[in-house]
């Protein structure tokens, strides 16, 4: 019988974030062909029970610091004890320490996944990433722009880095929900327009820009328009204060964290993202799958999914005016909304979670085979 490979995903923790929700969709689908588990190095996080419910074991291998010797050894012991064949690390922190520990443990295949532009705070971190890249067997970037940026910064061998676009589970967005009831539960009238932003309330997502343009749009479009802010984060109270101060609180709804995103998307007319830093935002794919026209800032790989004017609008970063103009244009033009919606639904069909599963499984198997042939 063919051996099932043991793949461990190393990640900092599992909060309610885009990457983590993507993994939650992705990992259970490997189970027929691979043994998949997760090892967190900071804490398990809120989503850990959901992973466990879907049969993915989550372990904690607590790190005191990224390169603390005891922590590195702990992870090495863990990987060795579990006879891991493939280590797949996610995002900067785990990419660094996961690579070191895996190399010491003699793990056959080490893969790092870049989900966004690197968060290098210092020159030293950049050098470290460049140096450690030599010990990796492969790097996956979530978009061409992330890949290009990484190669430029580190001079990494471009044969060892591939772009695999994230995918979504389309079936979840194909269901028709009772959107009238959903609107009612949020206090939104049936005939009102809804503009939504689905993102954690953190600085990088620039909700402030969203609120500023919301103020302008309300002045021009009128009051039968609601702005939905879905998500949770440290900026929660600050943003609420801003909405109150801008006197638009009556038309802004903070929903907090929600697990009914497909339903909320279906009752939304325009979906917006104002980030200044992104890799390959899954919410764009989810909106497209729901047929909701998208307006996003030109961050990271956004331009690779949305073609400006074809399936949505791409506006410059930090520009409330441009965003407001795009919103108004779209709100007034129902035909355009419909066209964007149809194009989006067509385009998104090539970004399925199933294709991710196939591509990654092939990558694991090929690299492993190549490694075992070498030995």
């Amino acid at each position: 019988m063919k051996k099932k490979l043991r793949v461990v995903h190393v990640i900092s923790d599992l909060p309610f974030g885009g990457v983590e929700k993507f993994l939650l969709d992705l990992l259970p689908r490997f189970q027929d062909n691979l043994h998949v588990s997760i090892c967190c190095i900071r804490e398990k996080g809120k989503l850990a029970p959901d992973f466990e419910r879907r049969g993915i074991k989550v372990d904690l291998c607590f790190f005191k610091g990224r390169l603390h010797p005891q922590s590195i050894i702990n992870l090495r012991n863990y990987l060795k004890e579990n006879r891991v064949d493939v280590v797949h690390t996610h995002m900067y922190r785990a990419n660094t320490s996961g690579t070191v520990s895996s190399r010491i443990a003699g793990i056959p295949v080490i893969i790092s996944h870049l989900h966004s532009y690197p968060e290098w705070d210092t020159w030293r971190q950049k050098k470290m990433d460049a140096f450690l890249s030599n010990f990796k067997d492969h790097i996956i970037a979530v978009s061409e722009s992330v890949k290009k940026n990484f190669i430029e910064a580190t001079n990494y061998n471009k044969d060892k880095i591939t772009t695999i676009y994230n995918g979504v589970d389309l079936s979840r967005f194909a269901i028709s929900y009772d959107i009238d009831a959903k609107r009612k539960s949020l206090g939104i009238p049936r005939d009102a327009k809804v503009v939504g932003i689905f993102a954690r309330l953190i600085e990088d997502k620039r909700h402030r820009v969203f609120l500023e343009s919301a103020k302008d749009v309300l002045k021009i479009y009128g009051k039968n328009l609601y702005f939905l802010i879905v998500g949770k984060g440290p900026l929660d109270s600050e943003l609420k204060d801003l909405a109150v101060k801008s006197r638009i609180m009556d038309n802004v709804i903070f929903t907090g964290l929600r697990d009914d995103v497909p339903e909320l998307l279906q009752m939304t007319d325009i979906s917006v993202l104002t980030s200044r830093r992104e890799g390959f935002p899954i919410i764009i794919l989810e909106s497209m799958a729901s047929g909701v026209p998208f307006i996003s800032t030109d961050a990271g790989g956004v331009g690779e999914i949305i073609k400006d004017g074809e399936s949505g609008f791409v506006v410059p970063i930090e520009s409330p005016q441009a965003l407001a103009e795009a919103m108004i244009k779209l709100l007034h033009d129902e035909k355009l909304q419909k066209r964007f919606s149809e194009t989006s639904k067509r385009i998104v069909k090539s970004y399925t979670i199933e294709s991710n599963v196939t591509k990654l499984t092939d990558l694991y198997l090929n690299l492993y085979r190549r490694k075992s042939l070498k030995q």
Binding site: D59, C61, F62, K64, Q70, S71, N74, L75, Y78, N82
Partner: protein, 378 residues
Amino acid sequence: MTERLKILHTNFNIGWGGQSNRVFNVCSGLKKLGHDVILACPEKSDLRQKAEDHGLNVLSNVRFNSGLNVSDYRDYRYIKALIKKERFDIIHTHGSKDSWVGVLASKASGIDPLIVRTRHNIFPVSTHYLNRLLFKKWTDEIVVICKFLEKDFLGRGLANAGHISVIHSGLIDSASDSEVSAGQFRRDFKIDEDEIIIGMCANIVWYKGHRFFAEASGEITRKYPNTRFVILGDGIKEIKDDVINRFKKNGTYDRLIMPGFYDKMPAFYKSCDILIHPALSEGCCNVILEAFSHGIPVVASNVGGIPDMVEDHITGILIPSEDHGSIIRGVFEILGNRKLKEDMVKSARKKFLDDFSVDKMVKLTEELYIKAIEYRGK
């Protein structure tokens, strides 16, 4: 149907407390699931009494005295013989002394059962060589009562990743217990119906933070003059005096009710409006769970195992420890925002039923045994 396991539980406690209660609940739960459970605990212990009353198989021929004693050798010989005779699948130990005895005896017995250890409190375990040997090498699985401990053990090299699990202590839901009436507590202490009861229920020792409760009382009374402060529990006299002095200094001593132990706790829970728990160190806090089950909003400090239960503004209000200003703000928020209070109480009750039930604790323990045995088989 899972395989019937033969399990030995050992516990050293003499008096009754959270640890004994948990050991008792786990043992009886596992027995109900069809496993063969034997409990070894000292003759004089309250646990033995209660376990025997409930028909558990108890062996009380052990002492598990603290410190190094001659009796340890006796315990060791006894447990070793017991393991040889009964051929246990699992030895589950709960305290320090019984862990050492249990581990050494099972090593020497030649049977090599699976060793599971529960760490019940959050006082730091020192990381000297012998402890590392005991926890990391000789213990197969470690169970801790909160996420804080999991991190602590892994961070200080006392546990192997993948072999430590958090299983929260479960509590029996006493909210539906209708033996006492809601008005009982108010009648006992002559508190009017329209007065707000803000309670704190903990042993009066320094690390429970009673002094911060006292310091907060002044400001609270200024805004809500009809507040009564209740402190239940007994403890160290000096600390009690200090707390009383602080209430006097804040001009709220006449609003304070401090009866020491109170034997009708359900009556208290049925009347209390807000529960404050400003502890500086805490493992699994049963009082907070009781408050959850009775629908009392909680203001508690962000230490030890408390954040596992209290999610800020979702199941209660989480505050920094050693800060009476945050207690005041928390109380004002609960009293001033009815919707927030109702939402929190509802989520807290749900959290209690979902995550802190005895059934869940027992089920997770059983799952852990089965997984660990499977893992060993590989």
